[in-house]
């Protein structure tokens, strides 16, 4: 069976791809740069002996990413999981972005995951598969940083809630993870107020949970408590939070 990973070349996407291959899944890796994909695909094939397809696709400009992914699935075993660990943030996402930059953030964080999910939905339903989305703790409450990114992640969360509302877990397992800080290139060099999780650890939990039905949870789980506290903070206190 095949798992599709959108945003496979780095961070959590790469860790998920490795874990899927390690557990014997064929994978279709989708990312923007063909060089990164070729290297990862070769490594997964050599180390784990699984079938690997690749698709180099710039989600910021692709008109119909879902159709491209469907084409790339030809020749691979039946799709059983779609994972969407794709994301992009910018340090200047503070309300000063121009329309092109806003479009890019929305395309990668919101439009592309929804478009790919829509395109693959019939195939996913046919094989009673799992679809896995990834939100961010940044979407817990709107702040003066990561403005567009957080809005997009909140939008994605709503999309997954709708999917879960629409489909019974027996027909489509809809899983959504709100991620805390991850040790990846996005957070490298940042002084974080709370510990960052290793992508490999999160990936193991996500892949182990693929068969577990539909849910919406924090990962690592203790971030649920942090999010609850942040949501409960009165406005005057929340406004003072910098990190």
């Amino acid at each position: 069976m095949t798992a599709v990973v959108i945003g496979a070349s780095s961070g959590l996407g790469r860790a998920l791809s490795v874990e899927l291959a390690r557990t014997g899944h064929a994978v279709l890796l989708v990312a923007s740069d063909a060089r990164d994909l070729a290297a990862l695909a070769a490594d997964l094939q050599l180390r784990h002996g699984v079938q690997v397809g690749t698709l180099a696709l710039d989600l910021a400009v692709a008109a119909d990413p879902g159709a491209r992914v469907m084409e790339a699935l030809a020749g691979l075993p039946t799709i059983r999981a779609l994972l969407l660990p794709v994301g992009m943030s910018r340090s200047d996402d503070d309300g000063s972005l121009g329309p092109a930059a806003i479009g890019q953030l929305l395309a990668i964080n919101l439009h592309a995951p929804i478009a790919v999910a829509h395109a693959l939905l019939p195939a996913l339903l046919e094989s009673r598969a799992a679809i896995v989305g990834f939100g961010s703790i940044a979407g817990a409450r709107g702040r003066s940083r990561n403005i567009v990114y957080a809005a997009a992640k909140r939008g994605l969360e709503t999309f997954f809630e709708s999917l879960r509302h629409r489909h019974l877990p027996t027909a489509l397992r809809v899983q959504f993870y709100r991620l805390g800080f991850l040790r990846s290139n996005l957070t490298f060099g940042m002084k974080l107020p709370l510990p960052a999780a290793e992508p490999e650890v999160v990936a193991r939990k996500v892949i182990a949970g693929l068969r577990k039905g539909s849910f919406d949870r924090y990962q690592p789980r203790w971030w649920g408590m942090i999010a609850l506290i942040v949501r409960c903070l009165p406005w005057f206190a929340f406004r003072r939070m910098k990190d």
Binding site: D33, A39, N185, G189
Partner: protein, 442 residues
């Protein structure tokens, strides 16, 4: 500096021997475009496993490009024994993959977390350099990134000058991105034997007599009164699959947490030597898994921790055969006079050609490890050792000795300036700089 396109972390980096430390700006690219994102005029140095003893992979005024994410296997030809890997692949992982497919990388340094790029940049040697040469003998091709020219393919046929310069080039000819390695058929295990020797002169005779063994190295006591006595260990390929008594140990970490005190005082060194004699100086043969034989440092975590926070220094000199016996005798006399604390001496046989900054030639190498290198008595002995080695035609291993000064290296390495120019022709703006290249004025 702008952070667009890449992230930099400010962090403290330290050499494995704990003698070199610097606060550095580190980039940890995980995609090829992020390697290329660093502006072409930025001073930089590539970092692999970070296990060199000399600060070869960092500098306070360079951006450190950490290739830890570039650790993938790219191609494997199981018929011809060729493997292409990214430069950040750890030698231990590559060896384990090759062994699982019946192949062996004949040259591997003792630390399994050294990366392939690091092994090339230092042109490391393995367990018998007289038989297997240094790392460069087993490299078919390299792809490297030059900040100005971009990606360059290099091999003996294509860009041969830059290809040759990469070995013991310490990162100066460019960032090594990937390499194709030639493997050799692997044995099932090694049958390991030990020969007790009374001194270093006898050690040389035993090393020469077993020059064809795939494993060949000596351990020697460095204490005054016992100086040079020890054991030569040689391993032969086991003819059939044999039971090897121990499972391979976990890989030694890139940095070993030091004990709060230095264990290798005179009493500690005496006890350790007694333990090693008890364990190693037995004439019977025993079978050892190849992985365990290739990475003996996995068994040395407590040994390195025992140096404590001051760390250690390893001086490694290759002395020509004709001068070795005299060198060993003079060194023994100097040890008796100065009574330094030497925790370990390792001997190896070399049979290559000295060239550039490579640690190779025809002779015997002695690696001498000492605790607390900053202590005045220890520092004085290191100075004497350097002078003695140079006096006897010794060649230093630049990637090992963090105490070696530029003027000593210049005296010890013939045509030093020529070798330096041969490297810097590929980096005319001197962008590739580490703490090691600065200290040695490379």
């Amino acid at each position: 500096m702008s952070r667009r396109g890449f992230a930099l972390a400010e962090t403290e980096l330290r050499s494995f021997d704990r003698s070199v430390v610097a606060r550095c700006h580190v980039q940890r690219p995980d995609r090829y475009r992020l390697i290329e994102a660093l502006p072409a005029d930025v001073q930089r140095i590539t970092r692999g496993g970070g296990v060199s003893y000399v600060g070869a992979s960092f500098a306070s005024d360079s951006v450190v490009q950490d290739l830890g994410a570039f650790d993938r296997l790219l191609e494997f030809d199981a018929q011809r024994g060729l493997i292409t890997v990214e430069a950040g692949a750890r030698i231990g992982d590559v060896v384990r993959f090759a062994l699982a497919h019946g192949w062996l990388l004949p040259v591997a340094p003792g630390h399994p977390r050294a990366t392939i790029g690091g092994c090339i940049a230092a042109d490391v040697h393995g367990k018998n350099p007289a038989r297997d040469g240094t790392f460069r003998r087993h490299v078919e091709a390299i792809e490297l990134f030059d900040p100005v020219s971009g990606w360059i393919a290099a091999s003996a046929e294509e860009n041969a000058g830059r290809f040759a310069a990469c070995f013991a080039g310490f990162g100066i000819p460019g960032l090594i991105g990937s390499a194709t390695l030639r493997l050799a058929p692997a044995a099932h295990a090694y049958s390991l034997r030990s020969i007790v020797v009374a001194d270093l002169a006898e050690a040389r005779e035993v090393l020469l007599a077993h020059a064809g063994a795939p494993l060949l190295y000596g351990w020697h006591d460095g204490r005054p009164g016992h100086f040079g006595r020890g054991v030569i260990r040689f391993g032969l390929e086991a003819k059939s699959e044999q039971h090897t008594p121990r499972r391979p140990l976990p890989d030694l970490p890139s940095a070993v947490e030091p004990w709060p005190i230095t264990a290798w005082n005179r009493l500690g060194i005496t006890m350790m030597n007694g333990w090693i004699r008890q364990r190693w100086c037995r004439s019977d043969s025993r079978h050892v898994a190849i992985e365990s034989a290739l990475f003996p440092l996995n068994d040395a975590r407590r040994y390195f921790a025992g140096f404590g926070k001051p760390g250690f220094v390893e001086a490694q000199w290759l002395v020509p055969h004709a001068r070795f016996v005299e060198f060993a005798a003079t060194l023994a006399a100097e040890v008796a006079r100065q009574r330094p604390r030497i925790s370990l001496i390792a001997s190896k046989l070399f049979d290559g050609e000295a060239d550039g900054f490579r640690f190779d030639g025809k002779g015997i190498s002695l690696a001498i490890q000492m605790p607390q290198p900053q202590a005045p008595a220890q520092a004085a002995f290191i100075e004497s050792l350097t002078e003695l080695a140079i006096l006897h035609g010794g060649r230093p291993n630049l990637i090992k000795d963090s105490s070696l000064r530029a003027d000593s290296a210049r005296r010890a390495i013939t045509r030093f300036d020529e070798a330096r120019a041969a490297l810097r022709q590929f980096d005319p703006h001197e962008l590739q700089r580490s703490e090691m290249t600065r200290r040695l004025q490379l």
